[in-house]
């Protein structure tokens, strides 16, 4: 196939791009879940009274925040770490999760520390147990502060996930590369790929605004501030 009609590449390869986008979404979503759980564990270790746990958590953050994602991808895909042969998707997922957990743990730590100590004491004073206290007070209050940097980091993860194409995960980037390698229409291919990435990151931004609106309405604004904003509108 030579130089094609405008729009022909986009039309012909659209199902393949869509497939790539779904792969990107799947691996990023899985990595966000894993990194959030792992990040939460590291954050609680970092805030623990046990010195050993604190040092372990600090070392974790130091290591995985300090290494390039690409290096982790190569490590988990090519070296058969700990005798395990990982397929490309799993290697990508593990590398992204470990890397992002180091950032998430810092965000979650800041969120946990931002929770008003008096509000936690109030929970104690009505006899809530630690689990109830976490679910009813710590989480809802912490989420307010965590949302902007957390979603920001999710957006970064989504974009950086393009790197997994180098270890042959058939994500959106790799499908784009395949398409322009066979059609030579780089401009149009990249245009479609770019539009798809932007669509996905935009969805995350909409989510961020929705969460901020929901939590901020209750927490952040006082009556007078809300009224003055209202009167300006």
């Amino acid at each position: 196939m030579g130089i094609s009609e405008p729009g022909a590449v986009a039309a012909e390869y659209f199902p393949i791009f869509l497939n790539g986008a779904l792969t990107t979404l799947a691996i990023v979503a899985a990595a966000i879940v894993c990194a959030t759980v792992l990040g939460y564990l590291v954050a609680t270790m970092r805030l623990s009274r046990n010195r050993g746990l604190r040092i372990f958590a600090a070392a974790y953050v130091w290591l995985f925040r300090g290494l390039p994602l690409m290096l982790l991808l190569f490590f988990f895909y090519y070296t058969q770490p700990f005798g395990l042969t990982l397929d490309a998707f799993t290697a990508g997922l593990v590398a992204m999760s470990l890397n992002s957990a180091s950032f998430f743990s810092e965000i979650i730590r800041a969120g946990l520390k931002s929770v008003n100590a008096g509000h936690l004491e109030a929970a104690d004073s009505v006899g809530m147990n630690p689990v109830q206290k976490f679910l009813r007070v710590t989480a809802p209050e912490g989420i307010r502060l965590m949302t902007p940097p957390y979603i920001n980091n999710c957006i970064i993860m989504l974009k950086e996930s393009a790197q997994i194409s180098v270890i042959t995960v058939p994500d959106l980037m790799l499908q784009g590369q395949k398409a322009y390698n066979s059609t030579y229409n780089v401009m149009e291919t990249l245009g479609v790929v770019a539009a798809m990435y932007l669509l996905m990151t935009s969805l995350l931004m909409v989510l961020q605004i929705a969460i901020e609106k929901k939590t901020g309405r209750k927490l952040g604004t006082t009556k007078s501030l809300r009224e003055s904003v209202g009167s300006m509108a």
């Binding site: 008003n116 008096g118 509000h119 004491e121 109030a122 929970a123 104690d124 004073s125 009505v126 006899g127 809530m128 147990n129 630690p130 109830q132 009813r136 007070v137 809802p140 209050e141 307010r144 939590t215 209750k218 927490l219 604004t221 006082t222 009556k223």
Partner: protein
């Protein structure tokens, strides 16, 4: 009702409570007064274990509320079960109100009974509205704490404490964070509560309130109780007169 013997507590090398004994009878209104740093708030917070004492004994309703010192000579925290029992029996009102900002006034009142005591929401809700009515805030049920004045927030916090049907309520400087013109609306509610027979332990700087409402006044200085007894008696104590002379009113 509450009996405390030999309570000590220190932060690092600074002794905050030195061998304090205290007995609170059912229905009694006790005001704890004294200069800043006397250990008043720490004593109060030890009663419901928000602060863990170094040694001593606390009994609530005849039940001991913490363990003897362990091998390392420290008192461990209660196991969660007994801690929950204690805090369901004894409510607390804080200087900074500490209402949960992400919940409405009504939800703030329902948290304790519904989440902690597992009362059904339909039975707790009318009680909550009743309590709000008694402090003149029923129309604020669906407002968020940030929409209320400090005095209103503290009245809601008192309702929240009452929702637990407590045997006693601890007040930790309940009016110290309020603008002067809002102090009385809170003191009025507390006076009503005292007249209704509620057991109350109040750390306060409001001398007039302590003199007029308390059954017993406890004057603390340097981590110990200097004088205690009926207000008329304690207010004659020379140390208290020195302290009172530093206050503007």
């Amino acid at each position: 009702m509450i009996s405390i013997t030999g309570l000590t507590k220190s932060y690092g090398s600074k002794a905050v409570l030195k061998d304090v004994d205290l007995r609170i009878l059912p229905g009694e209104v006790v005001a704890i007064i004294g200069p800043s740093g006397a250990g008043k708030s720490t004593l109060l917070r030890c009663i419901n274990m928000l602060e863990v004492p170094d040694s001593g004994q606390i009994h609530v309703d005849g039940r001991q509320v913490f363990y003897k010192p362990n091998v390392r000579g420290k008192l461990g925290l209660l196991d969660q079960f007994r801690l929950t029992w204690l805090r369901q029996e004894i409510s607390m009102v804080f200087q900074q109100f500490n209402l949960w900002p992400h919940r409405t006034v009504l939800e703030n009142l329902l948290e304790g009974p519904v989440i902690s005591k597992r009362e059904k929401r339909p039975s707790a809700k009318p009680r909550a509205l009743d309590k709000l009515r008694s402090v003149g805030l029923e129309e604020k049920a669906d407002a968020y704490p940030a929409d209320l004045s400090g005095g209103q927030q503290q009245r809601v916090a008192i309702c929240r404490a009452l929702m637990m049907d407590p045997k006693a309520i601890l007040f930790d400087e309940p009016t110290s964070a309020l603008d002067p013109e809002l102090v009385n609306e809170v003191l009025d509610i507390m006076t009503k509560l005292a007249r209704s027979g509620m057991t109350m332990v109040i750390v306060t700087h409001e001398m007039k309130f302590a003199r007029e409402v308390a059954d017993r006044v406890i004057f603390m200085e340097h981590g110990g109780i200097v004088a205690e007894g009926p207000p008329a008696e304690v207010f004659q104590h020379p140390r208290l007169r020195v302290y009172a002379s530093h206050l503007s009113h």
